[in-house]
């Protein structure tokens, strides 16, 4: 049976656990930083040596940690791309711009256990020779920014930040930088532009890969809050030990944000891939099932941008048989293990690990209209297909939900959505705004056509039976 496994949120919800440094220190806080500083240069075969920093980076690589922000890219690889020979300073940015609809995990860490993030960041800075780092927190979390600033002040006072930290000779400073309500700042190059004090227009890659040309054109690492917390645990337990958590290629734990039509919405930390969507939704330890008398209609499995799954959909999942041979096993959408690779095989993604559950009371056209309004509002406007397309999709869905729909709107929506992504835009927002439209229309087309037809018929009836003109009598 699937269980919660609390690694990141081990203490956060314990009675009496507070976000101040004294409480964190009582729970072994900053011991891992001391462990990281204690690494010694290792002598390898053939007279080669490995610095403490290289060893720490190796641990992260060994752990198999994949980014918890949305893309699920290997953290060790991301770090390995950093240009360390440029002679320029290297920067680290914690992406705390948690804005993907459905996601509310980083908020828990920031509010309840900020020092865990800070310790993870200092270790990551040490491992990458970073002396100046920023936490980019979304503007709508003013409380979170205050908690982080207070925690940074405490850490400075205790000598965990600043010059010559704990006598290690390593200097490091971290500052909080607040966003101001723009979703696009979650995109790492948009975030960098925003941090530089500009409009957050994402940069084109190549050449602007943050690892080479990031903040102020210097090598820069951008990692999610949960990812940086994981680094602390990887160093504490060792990369190989960490890799035993979860499932192969999907290591460690993930904090799943569960919302929508379940009895117990909330955040649940699991070993990656050790619980299925069905368990997360139905099990009493997690979502506790749908509301009474309701049936499942659809699931958005990884934040609002991920492609929707329709109740009853079946997928062919690659598995190993008893002899270790690859076989394809037909799997119901609810039986998909909640991890990066299984969801990818089902044509969607676990993204920011945010599950939005919709039961049969939901008007599916209305649900997509809601999401399209979000994307129309959040497109930064830099690339024409995205700026115009997201607005057209929103406009079409608006008329479909306001009695002005047309039967051909379903096809029209797909046509627009198909013409936004695929290299026509600078960043992945083009994909993010198209995927919901493409997947909703692929799986629920009848609902959209029916709605458009009903509107057309109603309007035709209204025009064929004109209202009697009222003649005013004076």
């Amino acid at each position: 049976m699937a269980q919660e496994y609390k690694l990141i949120l081990k203490h956060a919800d314990e009675a009496g656990y507070t976000p101040d440094i004294e409480c964190y220190l009582r729970h072994g806080g900053y011991d891992t930083l001391k462990k990281a500083f204690a690494f010694q240069t290792k002598t390898l075969a053939e007279g080669k040596t490995q610095t403490p920093q290289e060893q720490l980076r190796q641990e992260v690589m060994t752990s198999g940690l994949r980014g918890r922000g949305g893309a699920g890219f290997s953290c060790g690889l991301k770090w390995s791309f950093v240009d360390r020979k440029s002679g320029k300073p290297i920067y680290l940015i914690c992406n705390a711009d948690e804005s993907e609809p459905g996601t509310f995990k980083d908020r828990q860490i920031i509010h309840k256990d900020p020092h865990q993030l800070i310790e993870g960041m200092i270790i990551s800075c040490f491992a990458n020779d970073v002396k100046l780092a920023y936490i980019y927190i979304r503007g709508e979390m003013p409380e979170g920014a205050k908690i982080l600033n207070a925690a940074l002040k405490e850490a400075r006072a205790k000598g965990f930040l600043g010059k010559n930290i704990l006598g290690s000779g390593f200097d490091c400073e971290i500052h909080v930088h607040r966003g101001a309500g723009a979703y696009i700042c979650g995109e790492e190059t948009g975030l960098i532009e925003s941090l530089e004090g500009k409009r957050p227009y994402p940069r084109i890659k190549p050449p602007y890969f943050p690892a080479v040309l990031g903040l102020w054109m210097c090598p820069t690492i951008v990692n999610n809050v949960e990812t940086l917390c994981n680094v602390k645990h990887i160093v504490a337990m060792g990369g190989a030990e960490f890799a035993k958590l979860g499932t192969p290629n999907n290591t460690g734990t993930r904090i799943v944000s569960l919302s929508g039509h379940v009895k117990k919405p909330g955040y649940y930390e699991i070993e990656v891939g050790k619980a299925t969507l069905r368990e997360l939704i139905e099990d009493s330890k997690f979502g506790g099932g749908l509301r009474d008398g309701r049936k499942l209609k659809a699931i958005i499995p990884g934040g609002s941008s991920s492609k929707v799954l329709k109740a009853g959909e079946k997928f062919k999942l690659k598995k190993k048989d008893a002899e270790g041979k690859d076989i394809l096993v037909e799997t119901d959408m609810l039986d998909l293990p909640y991890d990066f690779d299984s969801l990818a095989q089902a044509g969607t993604m676990s993204g920011s690990s945010a599950i939005i559950v919709m039961d049969d009371s939901v008007d599916i056209v209305g649900a997509l209209a809601n999401l399209s309004e979000f994307y129309a509002h959040e497109s930064c406007g830099q690339c024409t297909p995205c700026r115009e397309g997201s607005l057209w999709m929103n406009k079409t869905l608006h008329r479909l939900t306001h009695g002005e729909g047309r039967a051909q709107d379903a096809d029209y929506l797909v046509k627009i959505a198909d013409n936004i992504p695929g290299g026509r835009t600078i960043c992945a927002f083009g994909e993010a705004c198209s995927w919901p439209v493409q997947s909703f229309l692929a799986k629920f087309k009848d609902d959209f056509v029916a709605k458009g037809k009903a509107d057309e018929e109603r309007r035709a009836k209204e025009t064929s039976e004109p209202k009697k003109l009222e003649v005013a009598h004076h």
Partner: protein, 161 residues
């Protein structure tokens, strides 16, 4: 009306600038600091910020016009922001927004922020506030509220003196 920076604001801004190797990077944080003190950002404040950061006013203005949280006009004493996005919508956000508008004599179907005639409340729909598990959620100023029933909404309004 010309913009007058207080010594406290000046000190805060100098501290913020010290966080970055390039002055321009402080602009968003400086605008936050100004808005916190004055409630909105006037064109004089833009000029002052530009001078402080050694920028052209357009560099500051283009930020002010992009980010939804930055305001070019004053808002009500209490700014009510109701989350609009899917999980909150499934949890009754539209009904909640409607409830506030009705209660405060505003038009629930109008786009964008609306302020009551007495200038006490501004009601606005905003995009995902990242607390989807406790929908519907909202903010009043910097204070965050979760699982807001209509009854709780009435209490929140009553608490705004």
């Amino acid at each position: 009306m010309s913009f007058q920076a207080t010594p406290e604001l000046e000190a805060e801004v100098n501290e913020l600038i010290s966080h970055y190797p390039v002055k321009r990077a402080a602009s968003l944080m400086v605008l936050h600091a100004i808005q916190e003190k004055f409630g909105w950002i006037s064109s004089d404040a833009v000029q002052w910020t530009a001078k402080k950061l050694e920028l052209q006013p357009i560099n500051v203005f283009e930020i002010l016009t992009f980010y939804p949280m930055l305001r070019q006009e004053p808002q009500g004493k209490y700014a009510i922001k109701v989350c609009r996005t899917l999980s909150c919508a499934l949890g009754g956000a539209y009904e909640l927004h409607h409830h506030f508008c009705e209660k405060l004599g505003l038009d629930a179907h109008k786009h964008g922020p609306q302020t009551t005639k007495d200038g006490k409340f501004t009601v606005e729909f905003v995009e995902c506030l990242a607390s989807c598990g406790t929908a519907p959620v909202m903010m009043v100023g910097e204070k965050f509220y979760e699982g807001v029933s209509h009854k709780k909404a009435d209490e929140i309004v009553a608490g705004c003196k």
